[in-house]
């Protein structure tokens, strides 16, 4: 079984994030998107259970290689970094087309059975790339999995988001996205970190993928930080905190 996991290096959500020239400022406090750790865990577990290999794939500037190194430490066997200056400012559709072209090229060495992603990336948080990538590749998509089962020919998921708990299945090859409920990502240890240093990372540009026009369809016209909320009234409960809260709600016609 051959699995490709898509990962992304993103600005740390605990850091001061900003936008300049319509693009997110990157490269300062960047980390592996935390939701991709669930994707990696799901992929590595499946490869361990069923036999097979895991290739970590990312698209991003040079620093994005760090996300791949983390993926290799978590158990991916090899990695592909699509790196090209023309991809700065890519939207979800362009990202999906580039990742799709990379998956096809990876499949040149043997068919890819499963493409695994996280539920979203913490930078754009659009949740669009998994479905867009499945569409580009013409694959069935089972998304937002809280539980995953796979026997090597079918992938079955349980989705708990939405109005119901649902069980979906699809024949392989397929695209799978997992939520942060799906598993507890492993933490690399000294041995896996040393082993990761020997694992290969291939770097491809758009020419390697046979892509030329990667103009995004979505443009940011204006971006500005939201003004800070005016300081509120903070009281300490000395026995009447609940009554004062109720009074605040009534005075402000919030009831």
């Amino acid at each position: 079984m051959k699995i490709v996991v898509c990962v992304k290096q993103v600005p740390d959500i605990q850091s001061e994030r900003s936008i300049a020239d319509g693009r997110m400022v990157r490269g300062q406090d960047d980390v592996l998107n935390e939701l991709d750790e669930n994707a990696l865990e799901a992929a590595v577990t499946l490869a361990e259970d069923l036999g097979g290999t895991v290739t970590a794939l990312t698209m991003g500037p040079e620093g994005a290689g760090d996300a791949l190194r983390r993926a290799l430490q978590m158990g991916a066997d090899d990695a592909v970094h699509v790196c090209d200056d023309r991809l700065a400012g890519a939207d979800a559709v362009v990202t999906a087309r580039v990742l799709g072209a990379a998956v096809r090229r990876i499949a040149g060495d043997g068919p890819v059975d499963l493409v695994v992603t996280g539920m979203a990336t913490m930078d754009g948080l659009t949740s669009m790339v998994p479905t867009a990538l499945a569409t580009v590749l013409g694959l069935p998509a089972v998304t937002l999995a809280a539980e995953v089962e796979c026997d090597g020919s079918t992938v079955r998921i349980t989705r708990t988001i939405g109005e119901a708990t649902e069980v979906y299945s699809a024949p392989l090859p397929a695209l799978l996205s997992v939520t942060d409920q799906a598993n507890e990502p492993r933490i690399p240890n000294f041995r896996t970190m040393m082993a990761a240093k020997k694992k290969p990372i291939a770097t491809w540009d758009l020419g390697d993928l046979g892509l030329d026009d990667v103009t995004p369809a979505v443009a940011v016209v204006r971006a500005a930080p939201r003004p800070p909320r005016p300081a509120g009234t903070i009281i300490t409960d000395t026995g009447d905190g609940g009554r004062r809260l109720a009074a605040y709600l009534l005075e402000n016609r919030l009831v």
């Binding site: 936008i19 369809a217 979505v218 204006r222 909320r229 409960d237 809260l245």
Partner: protein, 311 residues
């Protein structure tokens, strides 16, 4: 410019769908793709002039299935823009349509305006700390509208034409099988993403959501929670507010025993009024709060509920 919009809606409509219809009407004309049997009287009240009803032949309405059916209607009717509600399913449908029509999708849209021949969408990003305006510069634009961003306004028009069409599904969409579906039990409360009032509980509740539920019911609101509270199993995962849960923008948010980690605040800081109760006066939630009580959540909630009952 009058924008010809196509709105993707379920058969049974709730507030968030009326909001999308209102948003669409602010751009121009409104046609609908209805995923279930449409209520044409309701659609007429919101100024819809045509409703396309795909026959799914019993297929479960997975996002790929919905997008493929909508794609058939789009090819036929050639709208200028497609709108739908920004839910997890809505975002997936938007993504598939954007690829199929080599256009672009903007999700979590909080405002829309026409500027000459362009449609400009506003949305907040970076956990609600930045405001942006975006546009789709080529192909079909798809806008997923964030619930509670628009005030639903009726605008009765003429008769609604009903057009029944067969849904043409791709092999990839047909390949996904729904094996089981267990609906969530009805709480009788408004949906979390649509509610005008949300009372949320976190670690400081120590496992007991009963007072949060009582206050929510007293205010006619929904119940939400932090990641910790859902992970601990104190309340169903569907109640999770935050970047990986539900993003909300209610008129009133009350956080009880919520500290205000960025994972949670990214999902609620767009609330109009924020009220917080926490024992720790240094908790980051107080930086966002319009009104805060430093104290024990259970005691403050119990007294507030009693005071509201007495009024």
């Amino acid at each position: 410019m009058i924008v010809q919009t196509l709105v993707i809606l379920p058969g049974v409509l709730t507030t968030s769908h009326f909001e999308v219809l209102t948003a669409a009407r602010s751009l121009g004309t409104v046609a609908v793709v209805s995923l279930g049997e449409p209520d044409v009287e309701v659609l007429a009240r919101f100024g819809v002039d045509r409703v396309h009803v795909p026959d799914f032949d019993g297929h479960p309405l997975d996002p790929a299935v919905v997008a493929d059916a909508a794609a058939g209607v789009i090819r036929e009717s050639r709208p200028d823009a497609v709108l739908l509600a920004s839910t997890f399913a809505g975002k997936a449908i938007a993504a598939r349509l954007a690829v199929l029509f080599d256009g672009g999708a903007i999700v979590d849209v909080t405002g829309l305006r026409v500027d000459g021949a362009r449609v400009i969408a506003s949305k907040s990003v970076l956990a609600g700390t930045w405001e942006t305006e975006c546009e789709v510069t080529r192909g079909l634009p798809v806008f997923a509208v964030k619930p509670t961003s628009f005030e639903p306004v009726e605008a009765p028009g003429g008769a609604v034409a009903v057009v029944r069409v067969a849904a043409e599904l791709s092999d990839a969409a047909r390949a996904v099988t729904l094996e089981a579906r267990v609906p969530r039990p009805e709480s009788g409360r408004p949906a979390l993403n649509e509610a005008r009032v949300v009372v949320a509980g976190g670690r400081g509740l120590d496992g007991d959501f009963s007072l949060v539920e009582q206050l929510a019911d007293a205010l006619g609101g929904a119940v939400g929670a932090t990641r910790v509270a859902t992970d601990e199993g104190w309340i169903d995962h569907s109640a999770q507010i935050g970047q990986t849960g539900v993003t909300i923008a209610p008129k009133l948010y009350i956080g009880a025993g919520v500290s205000g980690a960025v994972h949670h605040t990214g999902g609620m800081r767009a609330a109009e009024v924020i009220v917080a109760i926490n024992t720790d006066s240094e908790a980051p939630i107080f930086e966002l709060a319009d009104f805060g009580v430093v104290g024990d959540a259970a005691e403050v909630l119990a007294q507030a509920i009693e005071a509201l009952r007495e009024r």
